[in-house]
Symmetry: C2
Subunit: 372 residues, 2 copies
Amino acid sequence: MQIPAQLNPTERILMGPGPSMVPARILQALGSPTLGHLDPQYIGYMDETCAMLREVFQTKNLLTFPVSGTGMAGMETIASNLIEHGDEAIVCINGVFGLRMRDMIERCGATVHAVEIPWGESFTDAQIATAVAAHPQSKLLTIVHAETSTGALQSLPGISKIVHDAGMLFVVDAVTSLAGHELKVDEWKIDAIFSGTQKCLSCPPGLSPVSFSPAALEAMSARKTKVQSWYLDVSMLRNYYTGSGGRAYHHTAPVNMIYALREALRIVLEEGLEARIERHRIKHLELRAGLEALGLTYIPQNSLHSLNCVRVPEGIDEAAVRRKLLADYSIEIGAGLGVFAGKAWRIGLMGHTATTRNIQTLLAALKDCLAT
Amino acid sequence: MQIPAQLNPTERILMGPGPSMVPARILQALGSPTLGHLDPQYIGYMDETCAMLREVFQTKNLLTFPVSGTGMAGMETIASNLIEHGDEAIVCINGVFGLRMRDMIERCGATVHAVEIPWGESFTDAQIATAVAAHPQSKLLTIVHAETSTGALQSLPGISKIVHDAGMLFVVDAVTSLAGHELKVDEWKIDAIFSGTQKCLSCPPGLSPVSFSPAALEAMSARKTKVQSWYLDVSMLRNYYTGSGGRAYHHTAPVNMIYALREALRIVLEEGLEARIERHRIKHLELRAGLEALGLTYIPQNSLHSLNCVRVPEGIDEAAVRRKLLADYSIEIGAGLGVFAGKAWRIGLMGHTATTRNIQTLLAALKDCLAT
């Protein structure tokens, strides 16, 4: 066959639902010489990465590590390790990612009690209290902190109390919120949480940071059956990531991706977690003012700062606008997903992307595209 | 917390069981600007990557793509997509990776008929014929082409005929052989095969190339139940990788790792697949002569070229030798695994690592370490 030409990716402004833009420092770290996955030097880098992840998750959970797959692998790690055949679980659904969690938990053999509200809305404490009361035998409740399909932010502390008062585990999808929104795993008593590297951490996609509370570990220890996934079985992974039982080889870790995540976390801590979260808030307000000045309206009442989901105006060919943005300005924004397919744009403002320069460039470009 | 120092990994000579050494060109590709996973430019790179994978696997199988996880994720993709509760499977075991396949297939709910021979040996056609005759109702038979734990190479064509004559699917673990040993997926009628990027492809770890034959696709279509892994469900992944049903979003692909694999495959095709396989053979002979001159003996009768598994001489502290190689020479070799723990060294000669310079450096260093 003819050998394809040398790689030469365009330097896009990435304002979709992820990946976000990756700082040069992280790309350089990614391209550093590969070490063996059992090399003491690499183990040191990995331990530092896990320590920084704890800081960013605001947790002391020992079992905090990056799963060797993209965000959905983190979701599946939690589902497959906490759920056994015959369990019951409450799944809160207000977008694509709640639906996925239901699918995954059902594949693990549990009966799912779905609590559904319209896409774009966020759950009230009262809705959760009703669901928990209706299904008191459930092992856990899952909810999405930042629904990437709708741009809705979910408040968590009140729900956490309701869930724990009922004796259930509290499971949170934080793919689009980690390091971009306030998120306090220990203070909010979250038992299992997962995220992705390609959102507010501004690292390339490829890893899914997860964290498990002591109560989650107890639930895993009490399992009567093996985890149905070997690749994601935490009872084996924990030996490698926490050093319990020696650094037993499980699978070959994605060494260079860990380099990148480590550098991404260093950048987060250099900026300061609080300052970074505040930057996401301020930049969201700037973008929001500009989008509303263009006549665009937000879909969710309680919008994320990291992802802005707006309605496509009547009579506009949404795909043509995205194509023109990409072709003429090399700017990527996201299409609507699920019920919002064809009806919404999703504009990401995550991590390194969240700057005034990118916001003003997008607003100018969007104004041009909407006028033609 | 104190922010860890800047990343500065040592440039090792990687002669363990993987990862192998990564050429600078691949590291540069890895660190290229991240594109969105639905960007037409990225989709083009991905399609080229899959086309080159077909070339290297020597197959026309449309469904040939890199799973978004390390090698074991590829093994699990095959197990979880081909196996349903109640199935029966024959698993050939002569090392760690046969054992793993048994574990994975059992977690998928199948009854496993294990065919075990001593570690380090390879299977004869007669052994397979006996097993197949004893369990004719089995859906598939799995075997390891290159046992990374023992260094044994397995001949496949004769076995393939026996398996197909019995109406079973033929499943092969090619983690340590792809692009380093002769391997003809179509000619040898392999129905499902997986590999890793960090071996003879000399790419960092993080992806697992897989390929499925039309017969394997039929078996998947005939499933009565959902694949128990959502993340690895080929019925959804194929839409993204082959374009059937549009390029539906499934999960965020590990974009930069695909860049690296694409570059690794370009390098393989530039060298020429046959020339590369011949280089592995020649360099193996050179290493073997040197190791035997040092008094070391090989464990497997039918040794891989890509991985050389030798006995640790009596009275030698094997871990001390590896530590000294790493500390004084920055050379990594592998320890024994499983029944060979403490008794063997595994010396990789894969991809970019397989050069006379590395071989002679190792031999000189090993001579020094064995003398002290």
